[in-house]
Amino acid sequence: MTLLDFLDMDGYYLYVWLSFGLAIVVMLALVNGPMKRKKQLLKQLGRKKRRGQRT
């Protein structure tokens, strides 16, 4: 089996690769979301802390 055969997926390349591509994009986004959110939350907490010290 050559690489081209593999990529061609018996002519169904569009459907197969779109399916897998979509799954990967959605699932990576679902991991990335909480990671970003955590950073954002920690930043917010830091700001709160500093404000707390000033007053």
């Binding site: 897998f20 799954a23 679902l30 920690l42 907490l45």
Partner: protein, 246 residues
């Protein structure tokens, strides 16, 4: 037993418990995904009728299974928060909704991409497809309802009722292919059966992918839950200590 449960119900303990579990799910997810993808896309043979197009099954079926599984986790957690008013279960239920919605969307989208070449249509209003679409609306409804209330406790009660009522849809989805005439095929993988309708060379990678999806769900669930706890408890001392530690 009861003691450990009440202990875990405190958000602080639940936060650290989730943190401890996280690596035990995150790393296996990565490994299982890579093995499953390679096995499903490269090693598994083509199907005698559908040729290589059937490989969509390796994302479609795990996503569809998870769309039901996540809903059950969400509904059970929601019921627990309704009965015992435990905050940890509220957090879990809330964290489930977007993950479940994503799996449902994936099941519908990959099914559509599979249906076009094989059945001859992107979409068909048959019982399986329609009830799965209703599931997506249930997840989205849960998320919308949750954001409509400012008070977390009121929101938790409202969303819990929606989640519990929506459980009726789960058996409908599962048995739709038997109760009604559907374009969608009947179940390929059945637990209590010696002879499977799928050859082993395809069934093994499918099971690896299904396991990978389960671990993935647990990973994201833990991450989301931890974030929601930090947010809810932002006024407490332990969260400030945790921030300094990180």
């Amino acid at each position: 037993m009861l003691q450990t449960i009440t202990k875990l119900a405190s958000l602080r303990n639940f936060y650290f418990f989730c943190g401890k579990l996280l690596p035990w799910f995150a790393w296996p997810t990565l490994i299982l995904m890579l093995v499953g993808l390679y096995w499903g896309l490269v090693e598994a043979p083509a199907d005698y009728q559908q040729k290589d197009s059937y490989r969509i099954i390796f994302v479609h079926v795990p996503a569809a299974w998870m769309s039901l599984f996540v809903y059950m986790v969400m509904a059970v957690s929601a019921a627990a928060s309704l009965i015992w008013k435990t905050k940890a279960s509220e957090v879990v239920a809330n964290s489930c909704a977007p993950i479940g919605a994503a799996f449902t969307f994936l099941a519908l989208a990959t099914g559509s991409l599979w249906g076009k070449p094989m059945w001859g249509t992107w979409w068909e209003w048959d019982a399986r497809l329609t009830s799965e679409l209703v599931l997506l609306f249930l997840y989205l409804g849960y998320m919308a309802l949750q954001s409509a209330f400012e008070d977390k406790r009121t929101a938790a009660r409202a969303t819990a009722i929606l989640a519990i009522v929506g459980v009726v849809n789960i058996p409908i989805i599962h048995y739709s292919v038997e109760w009604w005439f559907t374009l969608h095929q009947g179940p390929t993988v059945q637990v209590m059966q010696d002879k499977q309708a799928m050859d082993k060379s395809m069934l093994i990678p499918l099971m690896i992918m299904a396991t990978a999806f389960k671990f993935y769900f647990a990973t994201v669930l833990l991450m989301r839950s931890r974030n929601e706890i930090l947010e809810r408890e932002s006024h407490t001392k332990w969260v400030q200590e945790e921030r300094e530690r990180l």
